[in-house]
């Protein structure tokens, strides 16, 4: 039943994320423009937010409303996803439209005592082109309260008082901008970048008080398209605004635009590295008992190994950790355990060490810890008890215990004694669920809400049968219930026809078996109704050393498409699908994954994913899939791509929790480049127990 509370927390997360504090910020924050990026009113600036900072903004004026998510992906790289609504896009009386777009900005020069900050950026570089522009911009803080910005723009930003492109001195081709033919959108418009007429823009931010800032700009965007189709009649190139900053994390602005319109903007800023609860609210752990230091143990340790095993099992269970196997070998104790409470394996390891030191008789000199997940032992960490005692409370102790630890692969299970627990092999629960899809091309938000019953039977830790049944109570996706017009097999585009309101639907029902068939080799076999739309068999192998940032994987699936009623039946469509995968955990938290193979619609291609993972579990990433499906057959967007955000629940609540809430912003309704959504893929299971991963959060070892 524990999952129920997790589910409720997941539902609440969107409201809680905003609590993130910005304590510790030393400098004046960037001003955010109507595009949701650091800038003036509509013009960009070269200002760079602190690394990792993110902003959510809601902006608009009469003709356009925009929601923007901007991330400082790396110290010099800023990325933005924008979802915009355009009134009467082709002129008065014509239909409205929604548009998704991406921005990218690179900070070429850092601001110094004399040098301004200089950035190069692309707006709407892979969308339908409604907002496409490029720029080079410089920003200089000339006094603590005044910041000047000037730049050169192309595309939309080159439409007011434009002049011949100075890049023409490099190649005459820069002087002409090709027609704006974006077709189905979604592809980078390389042929347009920095081409055609250029124009100057600039402005000033003047901080009147710590809470109020005046902004003025000369805009180089003449709104040509909107003027030509009769939607807008701009009277002035100057835009002005007043921004109120009620707190470090929010900005509220009102603008005068074009001499004719009023614009409003709200921006909320947060940084994943700033936790709402600064150091967390984790319950205090047991202290380390230092032998011979006058410590008065709570328990005079029982001496038989059976009694010790029972004692340790109870103590670890009280801390949310399941002791699965144990070995007493001379002065060494080896424990194999599964952590179901702490996101950080390092923290769980620290708690296990504390319990061992607290309860075991003094003659045990070393501890070997082997974390497991789904029954497979992931790694081994050996610690000397004297080091545990020495570093548990000292300044530098976190580093000290890391340096003294011996890491390696898990040892053989042959000499381990399996611990029998009284925990039931059968678990079940009932919980509400919500399934939210944001920023669809036709609807800003679609979602289902309903009731879900889940059950799980554990034959062994490595062999588990689990399933879920849902009853959808309400949805706004009914309009998608008719079949799609896709020319590809409808492996995703018919998703709106699955699980009609008012009837029980089997979300999944599958048996999964995990194993270690060889050194550094892990396996998974999953059979059953694997996901909402497909059932069958899925087999996977993963090679990964415990100390390596690289991994290789192979997955093969034979699946058939399920009936729309999400019962036990299947349709006629079946497919052999699978991928070879390469994983690379880079420095500074970046993860790269390349998957190549055959997708659900039978198309061949590859997916490249890049994610940045913070030590506290936050994860931001993007992916793109290119297959042999022609862009025209794929439909709007041309190929599958998206961005994704994962927020760990312990970040928001401050309490120990292994659950995270993930959101992917993409189109779920396209058939090209679609992968099977099988649960429990090996890489994410295995890497969490490898020390090249958990060293990132080693700061929590003594937490």
């Amino acid at each position: 039943m524990a999952k129920i509370s997790n589910c409720v927390q997941a539902v609440l997360i969107c409201g809680v994320v905003g609590v993130g504090s910005l304590a510790g910020a030393q400098e004046v924050r960037p001003h955010y423009s109507l595009y949701g990026t650091p800038g003036l009113v509509e013009m960009p600036s070269a200002h760079v937010a602190p690394d990792g900072e993110a902003s959510v903004s809601v902006n608009g004026f009469g003709l356009q409303q925009r929601v923007g998510l901007t991330f400082q992906l790396a110290p010099r790289i800023t990325g933005t996803f924008r979802y915009a609504h355009f009134d009467h896009v082709r002129g008065p009386g014509t239909a409205d439209t929604y548009d998704r777009s991406f921005d990218f900005q690179y900070n070429v020069v850092r601001e110094g005592p004399w040098l301004p900050s200089v950035s190069v950026g692309l707006r709407d570089f892979a969308g339908t082109g409604l907002l496409t522009s490029e720029y080079v911009v410089a920003t200089k803080t000339v006094s603590p309260d005044i910041r000047l910005t000037g730049g050169l723009g192309w595309g939309r930003l080159g439409t007011r008082n434009g002049f011949t492109n100075p890049l023409g001195v490099l190649a005459s081709g820069f002087e002409t901008r090709p027609n704006n033919d974006f077709g189905l959108g979604g592809t980078p418009s390389f042929s347009q970048y920095f081409r055609g007429d250029a124009a100057l823009f600039g402005g000033v931010e003047w901080r009147l008080t710590p809470k109020f800032t005046l902004v003025g700009e000369y805009s180089s965007d003449a709104y040509v398209r909107e003027t030509n189709n009769g939607n807008l009649d701009p009277q002035s190139p100057f835009n002005f605004g007043l921004t109120w900053t009620p707190s470090e994390s929010s900005q509220i602005s009102a603008y005068s635009l074009f001499g004719t319109d009023i614009g409003l903007s709200f921006t909320h800023v947060f940084n994943p590295v700033n936790r709402p609860n600064v150091s967390g609210l984790d319950p205090a752990p047991l202290p380390v008992r230092v032998r011979g230091a006058g410590a008065t143990p709570m328990v005079l340790g029982p001496q038989s190994s059976e009694s010790l095993q029972t004692t340790l099992t109870q103590a670890m269970a009280a801390d949310g950790i399941e002791l699965q196997a144990i070995e007493f070998a001379g002065t060494e104790v080896r424990v194999r355990y599964e952590n179901s409470k702490y996101r950080s394996e390092a923290q769980a390891m620290g708690h296990v060490v504390r319990i061992l030191s607290f309860l075991l008789p003094d003659h045990y000199e070393s501890f070997v810890l082997e974390p497991t997940d789904r029954g497979i032992a992931l790694s081994s960490t050996r610690l000397q008890r004297r080091d545990v005692e020495r570093f548990s409370q000292s300044v530098g102790g976190t580093r000290g215990i890391y340096d003294s630890a011996e890491f390696g692969p898990a040892r053989s299970a042959d000499t381990l004694t399996t611990v029998q627990t009284d925990q039931s092999a059968f678990e079940w629960g009932v919980r509400p669920y919500s399934d939210l899809t944001l920023f669809d091309p036709t609807n800003p938000a679609t979602f289902d809400v309903g009731i879900e019953a889940v059950a799980r039977y554990e034959f062994s830790p490595a062999f588990v049968l689990s399933g879920a049944v849902r009853d959808r109570l309400w949805t706004n996706r009914e309009g998608k219930a008719s079949g799609s017009g896709s020319v590809l097999p409808h492996v995703r585009s018919d998703i709106g026809r699955y699980g009609q309101t008012g009837s029980l639907a089997l979300s999944n029902l599958a048996a999964a078996w995990y194993g270690i068939p060889g050194d550094n080799l892990y396996s998974r076999l999953t059979v059953g109704y694997l996901e909402q739309m497909f059932g069958g068999i899925s087999a996977e192998l993963l090679w990964k050393r415990t100390d390596s940032p690289f991994a290789l994987g192979a997955e093969l699936n034979y699946v058939a498409q399920r009936d729309f009623d999400m019962g036990f039946g299947f349709q006629d469509y079946d497919v052999l699908t699978g991928h070879l995968s390469a994983y690379w955990k880079m420095d500074n938290g970046f993860h790269v994954q390349l998957d190549g193979g055959r997708y659900l619609a039978g198309d061949w291609g590859a997916t490249l994913s890049v994610d940045r993972e913070f030590a506290n579990g936050w994860r931001l990433g993007a992916y793109a899939t290119l297959t042999d499906v022609p862009f025209a057959d794929f439909g709007e967007g041309s190929f599958d791509k998206g961005i994704r955000v994962t927020v760990p629940l312990d970040w928001t609540s401050g309490q120990p929790n292994r659950t995270a809430q993930s959101t992917t912003l993409n189109s779920l309704s396209r058939d090209g480049g679609a992968r099977l959504a099988v649960e429990g893929r090996l890489y994410e299971v295995v890497r969490k127990g490898h020390f090249d991963n958990y060293e990132n959060s080693w700061g929590r070892f003594w937490k």
């Binding site: 609860n277 600064v278 150091s279 609210l281 205090a284 230092v290 300044v395």
Partner: protein, 210 residues
């Protein structure tokens, strides 16, 4: 002093200090091993609370939240004592100086005293190191240069007790941060009352050992 006690009583009343939270490992282990442990949930606090307790009790008040907790010794480690609160919190103290907290928001992960225990008795100075856990799970260490001043004598009264103390002010600073702590020390060199900064963001507590 009166403000401290009043806030402590208010805090105890508001926070309830009810039964031990089930997620706390310490009380759960207590039930597992049936170790003698006084239930520190006391409402309201009176002189009898301290008189009747078989173990020393200390009041710790969060200046930020105004919530107070009663803590009791949980374990002795050489010259340190771990004081435990029923609500999942521990405060490790060395001669009354807090050197580590757990279960406390904006707490201190680890710290040392340098030569503080000597210098605070002779208006001296020392360097102290403190470690904090950041929101991104990293340990940051900050060194402070601390100077000690004897502010004179003061008699503490409350809970049917009067305690003669002398007051030491501790001024610590580095390039970015500065703060002051205060200690009321009796004639047996026991810190009976204090105001101590804990966290990276300035979280501070008041302690009272009647």
């Amino acid at each position: 002093m009166k403000k401290t006690i009043a806030l402590a009583l208010l805090g105890l009343t508001v926070s309830g200090c009810g039964p031990l939270v089930k997620d706390s490992i310490i009380p759960r282990l207590t039930s597992v091993f049936q170790v003698r442990q006084v239930n520190a949930a006391v409402t309201p606090v009176s002189a009898a609370t301290f008189d009747d307790s078989p173990v020393p009790l200390m009041l710790i008040l969060s200046r930020e939240t105004g919530v107070a907790v009663l803590v009791q010794p949980f374990m002795e480690l050489e010259n340190r004592t771990i004081w435990a609160a029923p609500a999942n919190q521990t405060f490790t103290m060395e001669q009354g100086i807090i050197v580590e907290t757990r279960g406390v928001d904006d707490g201190v992960h680890a710290s040392d005293l340098g030569n503080m225990l000597v210098e605070m008795r002779r208006n001296g100075a020392t360097r102290r190191s403190m470690e904090y856990l950041t929101g991104n799970d990293q340990i940051v260490r900050i060194d402070f240069d601390c100077v000690y001043s004897n502010l004179g004598s003061e008699v503490l009264s409350g809970f049917d007790r009067t305690i003669s103390t002398y007051v030491v002010q501790e001024d610590c600073k580095n390039a970015q941060i500065q703060f002051s702590n205060y200690y009321w020390i009796d004639d047996r060199d026991v810190v009976r009352q204090s105001v101590q900064r804990l966290g990276l963001n300035g979280g501070a507590v008041e302690t009272l050992l009647p």
